[in-house]
């Protein structure tokens, strides 16, 4: 496995990148991005078999990843850049005119690592299913991963996809839910209760794993590996991953208020003080 201390350092650097990117353009989504740093670092640093260069859209004999909740693009861009998909310096162009790092991820500008646009919620799992079916048809034994938000599960299309994947035994598909309990207008329970999420997925026919420590890198790696072991047995696998929105920056943590808001200068200074520099260096 990859060196855990290196991945821990990468997680710390990714958090700095996220806050710096959002502060730099005074827009973007820091909360969910910070909460998913460990997931992305575990995925790209340990779990995925992938090829940053040259990036191949079809990804035959590679693992594929789809981000359904596209607004947490800062964390994905940071991890993609630091995994070698494109120059780290390009993070400085996030959300600026003529950038490949659009507010929400897209293939339109040809950014390596991105296979489909996301942002309008609820669509990623369907695309991931299609990619998983294509792999199955081709006898390609690799996996397709997808991350979706929890509030995003209020979109009806998600449940169409969840029903389809179980009904058709798409068991090379592993979905993770960023279960931070928050969305734009408040907590999930305040906005629209998701009810008993594990039971719902189970009732739809999925193999359900619950990860209590979604911000513990070692735990995330272990769970993703476990999900791979559980796949291939006739059921798609879901990891309900409890994370803390805004994790790592005290005033952003555990609240929906930093879903899509940039820090001011004072807040930025405070955040940077909490996220010390790493040997990887800022972009």
């Amino acid at each position: 496995m990859a060196d855990l201390s290196k991945l821990t350092e990468l997680s710390a650097q990714v958090r700095r990148d996220i806050v710096r990117m959002v502060y730099n353009v005074q827009s973007g989504h820091p909360g969910g991005s910070l909460g998913c740093a460990e997931f992305f670092v575990a995925l790209y640093g340990d779990v995925l078999k992938h090829s940053p260069k040259p990036f191949n859209m079809e990804g035959k004999n590679e693992d594929l990843f789809f981000l359904s909740n596209g607004h947490i693009s800062p964390v994905w861009y940071s991890v993609l850049a630091r995994s070698g998909y494109f120059p780290v310096a390009e993070l400085n162009t996030f959300r600026k005119l003529n950038t490949r790092l659009q507010g929400h991820p897209t293939t339109h500008e040809g950014l390596p690592g991105v296979r489909i646009a996301s942002g309008s919620l609820g669509q990623g799992m369907s695309a991931a299913i299609g990619a998983a079916l294509a792999k199955r048809m081709d006898g390609d034994k690799r996996w397709v991963f997808c991350l979706t938000g929890d509030g995003e599960l209020q979109e009806g299309q998600c449940w169409e996809a969840i029903m389809y994947a179980a009904g058709n035994k798409v068991d090379n598909l592993i979905v993770a839910v960023d279960w931070n309990g928050q969305q734009i207008d408040g907590s999930n329970d305040q906005v629209l209760s998701l009810g008993n999420l594990p039971l719902k997925w189970k009732a739809f026919g999925w193999d359900v794993l619950v990860l209590e420590q979604g911000n513990n890198l070692e735990a995330v790696i272990a769970m993703l590996r476990k999900a791979k072991r559980r796949s291939g047995k006739g059921k798609p696998v879901v990891i309900l991953m409890k994370t803390e929105m805004g994790h790592g920056v005290d005033f952003m943590a555990g609240t929906h208020k930093w879903h899509g808001k940039a820090p001011n200068a004072e807040q930025f200074a405070s955040a940077m003080a909490q996220l010390p520099e790493t040997s990887l260096g800022d972009y």
């Binding site: 339109h108 299913i129 294509a134 299309q157």
Partner: protein, 320 residues
């Protein structure tokens, strides 16, 4: 070609041409896969499914998911053909098409049957008359509406050779067949059906035959109509539009669609910028349809042969 030489060899639904074309292109190209949302036989996809069961996906009544799965299959190098009614192929899934297919430039062929009024008795909930407008507004989307079963067959095969999203629109009823059984279909190339000097009728889909019949009637009255089949609404063959309009200096556009947003607007946009000549629309006037037989509905909503004839006479009055 002369109008008198254009004759119907029988009737067949355009969706039958789609089903046959899908089977044939499936035999030629192993990457072609099919999907439906519980409308297998309505789309005539059962032939493809029977021969290639491992390349066919029954998605259930979940069109949004179908569009996303199609996009994912395209990422994996497949050429997905989605099949459902035109209404559920467009309005119901506009955002999925917009983000996952059009903006993401996925090689998905959105195949839409039962378009327009000629769906008939099911009524306005299913008779979409806005789909061409919605699809042609999407950047990069190719929009095709063939005129008969043979042409639909050829178009179904041709779109596999083109990389990118395509909207292929066809219909339910048995309809006159008048184009060759084997034909070369070129996306974006208008087909010149009959030469004339007084007026040009640009038509698409079922209304091409209606326009031919109208032109024959007008010819008997001494009015010379040029008839052009615009099977590809986007990209529009602007050269063909301008060449003909510059000769006849009067234009009628006929389509089974709202006047808003369809082929008429596409052609008006070209003419208004480059060659403003009198133009009349034959299309539905900002209205929903209703239950009825296909020909009754076309008559009631102003899409019959007589409506094309009147539009020609109106535009000729304005030309004077």
């Amino acid at each position: 070609m002369k109008l008198a030489d254009i004759i119907s060899t029988g009737t067949r639904a355009t969706r039958d041409g789609f089903g046959a074309g899908l089977l044939e292109v499936g035999r030629q190209n192993p990457n072609v896969v099919g999907l439906t949302a519980d409308l297998l036989e309505s789309l005539q996809m059962q032939h493809f499914k029977a021969e290639f069961p491992e390349r066919f996906f029954q998605v259930g009544i979940a069109e949004a998911n179908m569009m996303g799965i199609a996009a994912g299959l395209a990422i994996g190098g497949k050429i997905p053909y989605t099949g459902t009614f035109a209404n559920f192929s467009t309005g119901r899934v506009y955002d999925q098409i917009r983000q996952s297919i059009a903006y993401s430039h996925k090689n998905v062929k959105i195949c839409a049957s039962h378009a327009g009024l000629t769906l008939g008795e099911d009524g306005a909930t299913h008779q979409i008359l806005e789909d061409i407008g919605m699809m042609r507004m999407l950047p990069g989307m190719v929009v095709i509406n063939p005129c008969d079963a043979n042409q639909t067959h050829a178009a179904t095969m041709a779109i596999a050779e083109y990389y990118g999203p395509v909207y292929l629109r066809f219909g339910r009823p048995a309809w006159p067949v008048f184009t060759p059984e084997k034909q070369d279909f070129k996306i974006g190339k208008a087909l010149h059906l009959a030469s004339g000097t007084d007026v040009t009728i640009f038509a698409t889909g079922h209304l091409v035959w209606t326009s031919i019949e109208a032109a024959k009637e007008l010819e008997a009255e001494g009015i010379s109509c040029e008839v052009i089949n615009i099977h590809t609404i986007k990209p529009l063959d602007e050269e063909a539009v301008l060449d003909s309009a510059s000769k006849t200096r009067a234009v009628v556009v006929a389509e089974e669609h709202q006047r808003n947003g369809g082929l008429g607007d596409a052609i008006a946009n070209v003419l208004i910028n480059q060659l403003p000549v009198p133009m009349e629309y034959v299309g539905v006037k900002d209205s929903f349809g209703e239950s009825g037989k296909p020909m009754e509905l076309l008559e009631k909503y102003g899409l019959g042969k007589k409506d094309v004839v009147w539009a020609v006479k109106d535009v000729l009055d304005r030309k004077k």
